[in-house]
């Protein structure tokens, strides 16, 4: 792995981390506000997180 590759991977991880933090944080807020909707929020959260994860992994492997 070359240095630009590593920098790119770092950027991807930073971006994905921010995104995942947003998803998780907002989901927590949602659950705190409406505990009865926990199941639905969790499902949606996992799906969005998975989509983000796919994006991040795709970018990582494109740069590999």
């Amino acid at each position: 792995m070359t240095v630009p590759n590593l920098v790119g991977a770092g950027l991807i991880v930073i971006g994905a981390g921010i995104g995942l933090g947003q998803i998780g944080g907002k989901a927590m807020e949602g659950i705190a506000r409406q505990p009865e909707a926990t199941g639905k929020i969790q499902t949606a959260m996992i799906i969005i997180a998975a989509l983000l994860e796919g994006l991040a992994f795709g970018a990582l492997f494109l740069g590999k």
Partner: protein, 167 residues
Amino acid sequence: MEQLINDFSPGLFIMQSILMLVVIFLMVKFAWKPIVSSLEEREEGIKKALESAEQAKAEMQNISSANEQLMKEAREEREQLMKEARDTKLKLIADAEEAAQEESAKIVAKAKVSIELEKKEALAQIKREAAQLSVALAEKILKAELSAPAKNAEHIDKLLKEVSLKS
């Protein structure tokens, strides 16, 4: 990306595709179809059982309400009957009273009539008795008069005169 493509094994892909097709086919045929159909059957059974329970409940309710209805009707009928009986009784009493009154009135009327008749009879009898008495009296008087012929003659004359005058 290059490494990814390098790592990709076409042979494994072909094997995997063939095996996956076979496995999906086998699983669908031997596992999922019977499992899912039995699950659906069971769910259907549960649903039906619930429905029939609900129906039975409704029927029970219907029956009890019908019973109540019957009870109510019976009560009403009884009341009706009792009322009718009471009415009949009252009517009977009233009728009887009326009949009795009528009867008594009739008896009284009859009695009055017979009293009248008796009275008339009695009066007629009295008249007859009086006539007989007067005849007897007259006979006696006449007998006595006849024993004094002068006076009689005079009297006859007088009567004759009157008769002739009248005619």
